[in-house]
Amino acid sequence: METTAQAATDALLPSARPVQLLDPSGTEVPQAGTARDYVMPSAARLREVWRAMVIGRRFDIQATALTKQGRLAVYPSSRGQEACQVGATLSVRASDWVFPTYRESMALVTRGIDPVEVLSLLRGDSHCGYDPIATHTAPQCTPLSTQLVHAAGAAYGEQRRGRDSVALAFIGDGATSEGDFHEALNFAAVFESPTIFFVQNNKYAISVPLSKQTKAPSLAYKGIGYGVPAEQVDGNDPAAVLAVMDVALEHARSGKGPFLIEAHTYRLDAHTNADDATRYRSSDEVTTWLDRDPIARVEAWLKAHGELNDDVVAATNAEAEARASELRDRMNAEPKVEPMSLFDNVFAEPTAQLEQARAMVQAELDAEATA
């Protein structure tokens, strides 16, 4: 029975408080007492993230607006979580895999997937609007935590293929309670699968606050139970998210296995447009978090460092506006759905029974058309 070396366990534990590189005012925070060394990202990267956040937030607001116009059935907003959605996504390569939940619309848009394809699931014309293989992006996942095990398997598969791709798997705070979270972390650890588990702890699972979800000191303390190094980060600090992602990616890509990140953030809107957040939280709480705006924070730093000027801000806002309006226009068009497609992809080849069903539905449609 061996002694567990203190150093070994220390390497797995997160920092005692969330890593923060920029405070809410955009001032650099002196690094002390963090579990690992985190390096301030370059101004160029921060500007890129800032830009994507501006565009992402505008997209998000547009999507919520589309629900009111009846153009989207439902929309889970990630407003307030821009640093996570954008920061984590821009940290990985196109050849890496991303495993999103329903909340990652902004992340997917940031990844370059056509926003209309991103919204397909939520508009209701298809279960997944984009090509997961071509985009290296799994379908948006609603059964909570189930995608994490897929991520562990895909990343392991990449490794087996001799490639250095990783998988970035998103998950919410509430979903960490599911058994699949546990199994995914453990599989990834045992198979040294290069998977980044990125928990957006936005403090609520629909109405259930984190305090009813776990008694852990922080969700990042779950890592050590799998031998997985973990970190907690200020999820509204884009610089810190990038810095922690860099460490996690270096760890995973160099063959050392998975990494767990807990990003402390907040969802400013309700769970979805169908939810009524006033039932379970105060507007004061929301206000507190409005003051921790990730965009303002990095914008302040960039401006203070002469890395951003008002012209660029205006141009970027205009671009975000243009994209939003293009999206609105495209979403106003009635999507094309093809009833006969229902039978195409149950199996690679339809069974005899599916062919019969197809014929039946075709006959019904023909009858309707002639009626």
Partner: protein, 339 residues
Amino acid sequence: MTTARPVTMGAALNTALRDSLRDDDDVLVFGEDVGTLGGVFRITDGLAADFGEDRCFDTPLAEAGIVGFAIGMCLTGFRPVVEMQFDAFAYPAFEQITSHVAKMRNRTSGRVGLPMVIRVPYAGGIGGVEHHCDSSEGYYAHTPGLKVVTPSDAADGYSLLREAIDDPDPVIFMEPKALYWSKQDVELPSRQPAFGKAVVRRRGTDVTLVTYGPSVPMALKAADAAAEEGWSVEVVDLRTIVPFDDQTVMESVARTGRCIVVSEAQGFAGVSGEVAARVSERCFHSLHAPVLRVSGLEIPYPAPMLEKVHLPGVERVLDAIARLQWDDQPDLTYAGGAL
């Protein structure tokens, strides 16, 4: 004296929970978002406020945990009523349900009963995204040791839920979410008709539609439409899938001589196949035509914009009625549900 007033099924379920909480201190309600929020469908609305957080509370987000925790609480005499947020989100609890909930009384030679209710909002028709619309009743009905119940109106919502909570055995209580907002004039409390009995919702002489849960209103509509075409259609609502009321079903089909099983669920190896098989066996000599099935297609539940094509509707039922060999000509080309 109370008089009947319009009540939604959702409100009736809420009232049933309230009355059970009031009448029996051992009844507890828990699950995801059932406390402060009152559930995503508001079925538990106000329970935590009115009965206290001890009686109705939120749990961590883990369905096996919820069901397993409820099993443990039964050992200390509680009667948990737990909510699974949606049909497909009960699957993580499948092992707990099949290996423990269904078997506990049996494996302990009757010494440990589990008087618990697992509420499952199920089936589609509300434009839900994938994994929010499964008709999962067949999985439970196929598992010996589970009672499987599904109301089709507000009165039954109340009555069946109270019966389920009082039942000494575990009950999977399937709530057709498309009917949560359907209204009916009812006088509560009412515990009629008896648990385990199917009910003839409409009398008819030519053909019996056997159906349950979300498909009952549609079947009644189809019966109305058929009436205009000159067919007299009887509609039987199973109410409890397990235990199964052979008597009511067989009496009806023996009388009408024809039968169509209508279910939203995919038909293959599910409840509608069972009904068709039972009726075919037990009414063999009364049947003038094969028992047909009008069910959901054998496909994963489609995206909202296509669910209309998937769901069995009035037209498909009328088509099936027309194919019941009224002229005694066999027609085996039908390619409806359960192919």
